[in-house]
């Protein structure tokens, strides 16, 4: 795999940042976009645009086919059983809200419990929080261990007879811990509890097989998968999509509308009310092509080597403290520097063209647990190289020089 050739496909790297080459280490936040994805959006709008699923004219039929084609590609990409199990949303956030809202409405009552973990992104906590107020459900958090991991035991300990849903991240966007989701799923199922996996950080980096994992719901963020913003995917087992009520109401999701009542359309339309992010869905097909051309196994290998290298480099740097030390770790390197706040680090790194994120990364529960108000985070994508990590380290040393004056 030739990273230089891959990097050349990302036009963003032709630009300078403060007169420096861009060292982009913020892919966990959102990935950059390859030319083919950008071109697809342009081509669709300039040559093929129409709304989908409504009209019978030439452009509408062609656009509908393209839109549905991405659904099938996604089904294959994550090995879902049925293309109707792929629902497009505006993001992973909406995917999780969809499940929390509809599952909560139909199946939860006062006193029921939802089990999350301390690693969860606010997107996988706040939607469930609403059910506290609305339904009087209780939320429990499985605890991390000293390495910033969630083990199967930690989940098992936190399950009670009242647990009605388990919702966990696949890969922590702070510590990088990869959770044993297949084992957690089978544990959940052994107790008849459905499970939702927040796959935002899993999908761009790990090989996915829904039938093998066997989870009930899996939320995906397309903009972290080299795809456009404004788009996410909810994978849900068909039995759930059949059983749950619709989420939003509007055009496209109905069968018959009368003054006295309404009947709802079939899958997948039932959950896709209104005009969807058509151009984004069609362009996301190119992101899947891009991932397939390289091969997710190759991406996993490349990123895992880089992560190890990054850990080595940062460990050698005495003033850096890595956050978490999971055995099974994705390509996220969060750290703190003695005496220098994460936001000061990020500003100083930025001057060198090194883009990282600073803050709590939408994980306040985790940061409170770790006793940190903010951390700096470097996260990797397919276009990163060892050179990027060396530059990161050099810039970190520059922070120290500035602060030790």
């Amino acid at each position: 795999m030739n990273i230089n050739n891959i990097k050349k496909q990302f036009p963003i790297f032709n630009n300078k940042v403060h007169n420096n080459d861009l060292v982009y280490l913020d892919s966990a936040n959102s990935s950059q976009k390859p030319q083919m994805v950008v071109d697809r959006i342009y081509d669709f709008y300039t040559k093929e645009f129409s709304n989908v699923g409504r009209s019978v004219h030439y452009l509408a039929v062609a656009a509908t086919n393209l839109y549905e084609n991405t659904r099938t590609m996604m089904q294959k990409y994550i090995n879902a059983k049925d293309s109707n199990e792929i629902v497009f949303t505006k993001g992973a956030t909406e995917a999780i809200n969809l499940v929390a809202n509809t599952f909560g409405q139909k199946f939860l009552r006062e006193g029921d419990e939802i089990l999350l973990t301390e690693l969860e992104h606010h997107s996988n906590y706040v939607p469930w929080h609403y059910l506290r107020k609305l339904k009087g459900v209780k939320i429990n958090f499985a605890e991390i261990n000293n390495d910033g991991e969630i083990t199967l035991e930690s989940i098992e300990k936190s399950i009670t007879p009242k647990t009605k849903m388990i919702a966990v991240t696949h890969l922590s966007n702070v510590t990088g811990a990869i959770l044993p989701i297949k084992e957690i799923t089978s544990l959940a199922h052994s107790k008849n509890i459905p499970i939702l996996i927040d796959g935002c950080q899993g999908a761009p980096h790990l090989k996915l097989d829904m039938q093998d994992i066997d989870c009930d719901f899996y939320a995906i963020s397309c903009h972290k998968m080299y795809g456009p913003t404004g788009l996410g995917v909810l994978y849900a087992k068909k039995k759930w999509l059949d059983a749950l009520p619709p989420y939003q109401g509007g055009g496209g999701m109905i069968r018959e509308v009368k003054k006295e009542g309404i009947s709802f359309g079939d899958l997948p339309n039932k959950y896709e009310a209104g005009t969807m992010a058509t151009a984004q869905v069609i362009a996301f097909g190119e992101s899947i092509k891009f991932l397939n051309q390289i091969g997710i196994e190759n991406i996993e290998k490349h990123e895992s080597e880089l992560t190890k290298y990054g850990e080595e480099v940062l460990r050698k740097n005495n003033s850096v403290k890595l956050v978490g030390n999971p055995k099974n770790k994705g390509s996220v390197l969060s750290f703190t520097l003695d005496g220098i706040h994460a936001h000061d680090i990020a500003t100083i790194l930025d001057e060198d063209g090194v883009a990282i994120r600073a803050g709590h990364h939408c994980c306040q529960i985790l940061h409170d647990k770790l006793g940190l108000s903010a951390t700096a985070r470097a996260s990797l994508g397919v276009y990163n190289t060892k050179d990027d990590l060396d530059k990161l380290n050099e810039s970190i040393n520059k922070c120290k020089k500035i602060f030790d004056r």
Partner: protein, 156 residues
């Protein structure tokens, strides 16, 4: 853009060794401020005497060098100021951080103005302006003894 301008010695000095980082005994006004984007937090305590003078001011909190330095320099400056003067200083400072090239107030010395101007480096870093202004907005709330937490996301 020059990082040395943003991280001037005076800012690093106040950032690393903040003055008045404590809690005023018998304070009679206070307010909390929070910058949810970076997690910067500040809690300002005031003791205002019968002549409406600030007889003591202090703060607790944590945050980046800019926000700690700003709170430190601000609290140093506000001691013994009258209520009216506080209002004028806060407005003048916020004006300077947002747009005007200098501070207009006559209440403080040129030397003190220079200290405050050292925070103007954030002008070139729009995401960091809130770090410099958090303590000041929170001071305004404290003067009103507002129980509502000052939140930088509510300002323009």
């Amino acid at each position: 853009m020059d990082l040395k301008e943003l991280y001037q010695e005076i800012i690093l000095d106040h950032g690393k060794n903040p003055r008045n980082l404590r809690k005023t005994e018998n304070f009679n006004k206070d307010a909390k401020g929070h910058n949810p984007l970076c997690g910067d937090k500040v809690h300002i305590f005031l003791k205002i005497d019968e002549n409406k003078n600030i007889s003591d001011i202090s703060f607790e909190g944590s945050g980046c060098a800019i926000s700690m330095a700003s709170a430190s320099i601000m609290t140093d400056l506000m001691k013994e100021k009258k209520e009216k003067e506080v209002k004028e200083l806060v407005e003048d400072f916020l004006q300077m951080i947002k747009e005007s090239p200098e501070m207009k107030t006559k209440i403080i010395s040129e030397n003190e103005k220079t200290k405050l101007m050292s925070l103007s480096g954030v002008k070139q870093y729009p995401m960091r302006v809130k770090c410099a202004t958090l303590a000041w907005h929170t001071l305004t709330s404290a003067m009103k003894n507002s129980q509502e937490e000052t939140n930088t996301e509510k300002f323009d």
